[in-house]
């Protein structure tokens, strides 16, 4: 019985972690599909989202879910600014050069963000310990904080799903995914959609950061290892697919939680790597396609 309870507990923790991954990974795969840019800075925005939450929480003690509502619009703006400043100048290059430049630019910015953050706020890890009552269902301890996070993730995913189906911007995004030239011909302003996608994607990463800082601790150097996990998820799920990101995130989250429990937490990145290598060997096109 005890084994079963541990098992359920681990699966729950893994699902939660996977959901947090999936949010940010979906943003990464959207950017990759719409703009052909691999945004290596993505994990840094998760870190910054967590950091903003930490700072506001430490200063005011507000409910983190209230802070979440402020983080979303703030990072949409950050995403717009980031795209305008660093991505727009290279966007019109021919494919091979775009790829090369986007790697160089985003790695450079990621390094700069990490170093500046660690210079200003110090290299120590930070966490938000926001306690909410836990309850026990059938011998399994469920913290209501984690339940709230899970519900928020589900709500956000459902919202995103309908947003991509119903709204004009969502339809424009899907049109570009299906056929870029066709979308241009019928009058979709592709550069504007690209800017918009950066706003959404980076704000999603920051939201994942809020959930991350509530569950774990953040430090200035978590960004790049996280981006690697997102890559594994996007490769696993297939790019541009919301369902794919979700499934990929859940698989990786559960696998990492189990590896962390049985082998030690520093092996979790290795799990992401083995997943990545396995996927590349067995099914290089990913599990899902489409939006």
């Amino acid at each position: 019985m005890a084994e079963l309870q541990i098992f359920i507990q681990l699966v729950l923790a893994g699902v939660l972690q996977g959901g947090t991954y999936a949010l940010a990974a979906f943003g990464l795969s959207l950017i990759f599909c719409i703009a052909d840019v691999l945004n290596i800075t993505h994990g840094e925005f998760l870190m910054l989202g967590g950091l903003v939450t930490y700072i506001v929480y430490a200063a005011t003690g507000w409910n983190p879910f209230l802070i979440l509502l402020m983080v979303i619009p703030l990072f949409v703006l950050v995403g717009f600014a980031y795209e305008r400043a660093f991505i727009k100048p290279i966007l019109n290059r021919p494919p091979r050069q775009l790829l090369f430049s986007s790697i160089v630019v985003t790695v450079g910015i990621a390094t700069a963000i990490e170093d500046t953050t660690s210079f200003i706020w110090g290299p120590t890890v930070k966490g938000v310990s926001f306690a909410m009552p836990a309850f026990i269902v059938g011998g399994v301890v469920v913290s209501s904080l984690r339940l709230m996070i899970l519900l928020s993730i589900i709500a956000l995913t459902v919202f995103l799903h309908y947003y991509l189906r119903k709204s004009f911007m969502g339809k424009a995004i899907r049109a570009i995914l299906q056929n870029r030239e066709g979308a241009m011909v019928i009058g979709i302003n592709v550069p504007r959609v690209v800017t918009f996608v950066f706003g959404i994607a980076i704000s999603l990463a920051a939201v994942a950061g809020v959930f991350y800082v509530l569950q774990f601790t953040i430090g200035p150097f978590i960004g790049l290892p996280l981006t690697i996990r997102y890559i594994a998820i996007v490769m696993l799920g297939g790019s541009g697919s919301l369902v794919g990101s979700l499934v990929g995130g859940l698989i990786l989250g559960v696998a990492e939680t189990f590896a962390g429990f049985f082998l030690g937490s520093h092996w979790s990145l290795a799990v992401a790597f083995f997943t990545l290598v396995l996927v590349l060997l067995l099914k290089p096109e990913g599990l899902f396609r489409h939006v």
Partner: protein, 315 residues
């Protein structure tokens, strides 16, 4: 030039011997990075991992008292085997994914080296029998750097190089023309791992101490890559020029006393911003900028700016 470099340690200050030695190291790493990034078009951000793996392979054996040649061979061979194993799945990744997966390897190795205490001494690293050997290392690194440069010079002239270029321009077309794309990609990847492996083992011997941070640290890993890209990948001359340029700047800017301390502590930020600026303003690197290219042409080195430069302009 070569004679001057061979005789230099007799006449210059030991400080500059070490400076040149590091320069050779970065030229070697940067130029071999150019084989995959410049010639093949696959930006291997984790190129420095080869350096670290070899350094650890060397140090683990050397600390146990094995002879130098055996340790060296172990370091290099284990790196090459590793490169061969990882090349097959990783070269299926396209562009940015490839770059990041490789970069992740470095982070992974930093973690693994830090946690496998029995083998690697954990984060405390491995200390070898200390010895001050700048002279031997100087000649060794000079030889490796020359070796790298010669290989990098020969590749574009060979059939192998032509295959790499055509894969870089368009993989599907290359395949349609009957080039065994996978074999050439893996060949370039494995070939490029040999040089940092040689330097890594040499570095462990020279420094007599390594730890995960020294051979797998992010800033250490990004430095040679930044140098090569700053100078210009895809050209033969770019990585060499980049290494010289960057080291001279580092030497005079970061050690100067007039620069405020807070800028110096943001060293890595500056490195990142330089990298971003190169990407935005000069994707071909410094050697493709008109004034600098003109200087090289005047010095009769125009042909080293090479065919790679022309194709960069064409697309």
């Amino acid at each position: 030039m070569l004679a001057a470099l061979l005789l230099a340690p007799r006449f210059i200050d030991p400080y500059w011997v070490v400076f040149l030695l590091l320069l050779f190291m970065y030229v070697g790493i940067g130029s071999s990075f150019n084989i995959t990034a410049g010639y093949l078009g696959y930006v291997n951000l984790g190129h420095y991992a080869f350096f670290g793996i070899s350094a650890y392979g060397f140090a683990i054996l050397y600390a146990k008292g094995a002879p130098f040649a055996l340790c060296m061979a172990t370091g290099v061979i284990s790196t090459v085997i590793f490169a061969a194993l990882i090349s097959y799945p990783f070269l299926r990744l396209k562009g940015g994914y490839f770059a990041l997966a490789n970069f992740g390897l470095i982070k992974l190795f930093e973690l693994v080296a830090g946690s496998l205490r029995e083998f690697t001494g954990g984060t405390q690293g491995i200390s070898l029998t200390p010895g001050y050997r700048p002279l031997q290392t100087y000649y060794m690194f000079l030889a490796v750097a020359l070796f790298t440069i010669v290989v990098c010079y020969m590749i574009p002239k060979s059939r192998f190089g032509l295959a790499l270029f055509s894969i870089r321009e368009d993989e599907e077309v290359a395949e349609a023309f009957g080039i065994n794309v996978n074999r050439y990609k893996m060949g370039a990847y494995i070939l490029s791992s040999i040089f940092p492996a040689l330097l890594g083992a040499g570095y462990a011997w020279y420094a007599a101490y390594i730890d995960p941070e020294i051979v797998f640290g992010t800033d250490k890993a990004l430095l040679p890559v930044t140098m090569a890209m700053l100078g210009g990948t895809g050209t033969f001359l770019g990585p060499i020029f980049g290494a010289v340029f960057m080291l001279i700047i580092e030497e005079f800017l970061w050690t100067s006393t007039w620069l405020p301390l807070w800028i110096k502590s943001l060293h890595l930020t500056m490195l990142g911003l330089i990298l971003a600026a190169v990407g935005i303003f000069s994707p071909g690197g410094l050697v493709t900028l008109t004034p600098i290219a003109a200087v090289f042409r005047k010095a009769g080195m125009g042909r080293f700016l090479g065919a790679a430069h022309k194709t960069l302009k064409a697309d």
